[in-house]
């Protein structure tokens, strides 16, 4: 792991979907300062949500405006099941997830301690920030039904594919 595995998603599922819903209400394009007003100028949340949505390829930012990509537009208009599928195909394109998923597939038990994520997150961050990223990563992975987490053992497991069962 010599190169950085960033950028990292920091925002959770509900936050990002909530933000996309707002954007959808504004017919797909909004001045970023109006978005700020909408969420009571919570700078931290604004930045993390925007960043995460961009990592997933749902929105673009240019010269003070935030707008949907076609993928984002499609995502927000989909059903819950379809949204999960979209995320499931998106996550493997993101470095942190790619490393995690490939580790899980190649590992015999298809499981790894959550501490493994600490190694993946290579940038200089405080413990609090790392925890936030870990939470977001696990949240998205579970949402997409790619992984499940054994909270008692603090272990991440690969979700068995349904076609393997049948």
């Amino acid at each position: 792991m010599d190169d950085e595995s960033g950028p990292y998603p920091r925002a959770g599922v509900s936050e990002v979907i909530g933000f996309l819903e707002i954007l959808d209400d504004e017919s797909g394009k909004i001045d970023v300062y109006k978005l700020g007003k909408n969420i009571d100028h919570q700078l931290e949340q604004l930045l993390s949500v925007l960043e995460t949505a961009r990592i997933f390829g749902f929105v673009e930012y240019e010269a003070g405006d935030v707008f949907f990509t076609p993928k984002g537009k499609h995502f927000i208009q989909s059903s819950q099941e379809e949204r999960k599928k979209i995320i499931a195909t998106t996550l493997p394109e993101i470095p942190v997830f790619r490393e995690l998923l490939s580790f899980l597939t190649h590992n015999e038990e298809h499981a790894v301690s959550t501490e493994y994520l600490d190694q993946l997150i290579t940038r200089d961050l405080t413990a609090e920030e790392i925890q936030k990223i870990k939470n977001a990563v696990l949240h998205w992975g579970r949402f997409a039904e790619l992984i499940w987490v054994d909270s008692d053992e603090q272990e991440i497991h690969l979700e068995e594919k349904e076609e393997e069962e049948t």
């Binding site: 010269a63 003070g64 200089d124 405080t126």
Partner: protein, 255 residues
């Protein structure tokens, strides 16, 4: 003329044996008569900048100049208003203020006179014998202001002074502070304030300094020359808001 000047200030901490850089070569000039607001995402080192500027924390690299002279330790001409008030619970309002006057070696008679004067100024008369625990958040911060002003500093630092208060109380205190500041009744010549509330930054400042995420640098400055009191709904206000947001978001995204 520059009252305060930060030159190429870097601050790093050592955590788990690793060097952990918080701010990276920051330059900042605070001119006489100016109210400067520093904004930036959380954890970007805003509080660290203020503590270095006030001489409480020494920088890893770079130097702080006050009135052109290097600052060796805590600046005796500065005082600070804290986010969580930092009041002593076993002292009354008046005793809290007298305490810092005593620490500055002011004789007892004059301590009482000065304390009462500033208690009046922030509108806390008849509360001088109350303990902090009996006061609301807004009143506690009034004590915080009175204490900071009572030592009659030349420069005032405020680290998110309104962010532990509810929205209405914050607006009230903000207005009152601005009135005092513009009235010229205070000894203060310049103010440095930290906030992560963008609207508040534009409401109060003469100039806004924007910090990036850690390790933070100054990504831009915006002069705000709107007349006071400022109207958040005015065209000019919105255009500054737009400009400021764009500055913050694009610096964040390009990182």
């Amino acid at each position: 003329m520059a009252l305060l000047e930060l030159k190429e200030i870097t601050k790093a901490y050592i955590e788990k044996g690793k060097y952990f850089s918080v701010i990276d070569e920051i330059d900042l000039v605070v001119k006489e008569g100016e109210l400067v607001v520093i904004v930036g995402p959380s954890g970007s080192g805003k509080s660290t900048v203020v503590r270095i500027a006030a001489g409480l924390v020494s920088p890893t690299k770079g130097q702080v100049f006050y009135k052109g002279q290097p600052l060796p330790g805590p600046n005796p001409n500065a005082s600070i208003v804290f986010q969580n008030f930092a009041l002593i619970p076993w002292l009354t309002v008046q005793e809290n203020i007298e305490l810092v006057l005593e620490a500055r070696g002011i004789p007892p008679r004059q301590r009482i006179r000065t304390a009462l004067k500033y208690i009046d100024l922030v509108g806390l008369d008849s509360f001088e014998d109350a303990y902090p625990r009996e006061l609301s958040g807004g009143m506690k911060q009034r004590v915080g202001f009175a204490r900071a002003l009572a030592v009659e500093p030349e420069i005032l630092f405020m680290d998110e002074p309104f962010s532990s208060l509810d929205v209405l109380t914050a607006a009230d205190l903000r207005e009152e502070f601005l009135k005092l500041w513009t009235s010229g009744k205070l000894s203060i010549r310049s103010v440095v304030m930290v906030t992560h509330n963008i609207e508040e930054a534009i409401l109060m400042s003469d100039r806004i300094v924007v910090l990036s995420a850690r390790p933070s640098k100054v990504v831009g400055e915006i002069e705000v020359s709107l007349p006071r009191p400022r109207d958040t709904h005015s065209k000019e206000f919105e255009s500054i808001l737009d400009h400021l947001y764009a500055l913050i978001v694009s610096s964040h995204i390009s990182k």
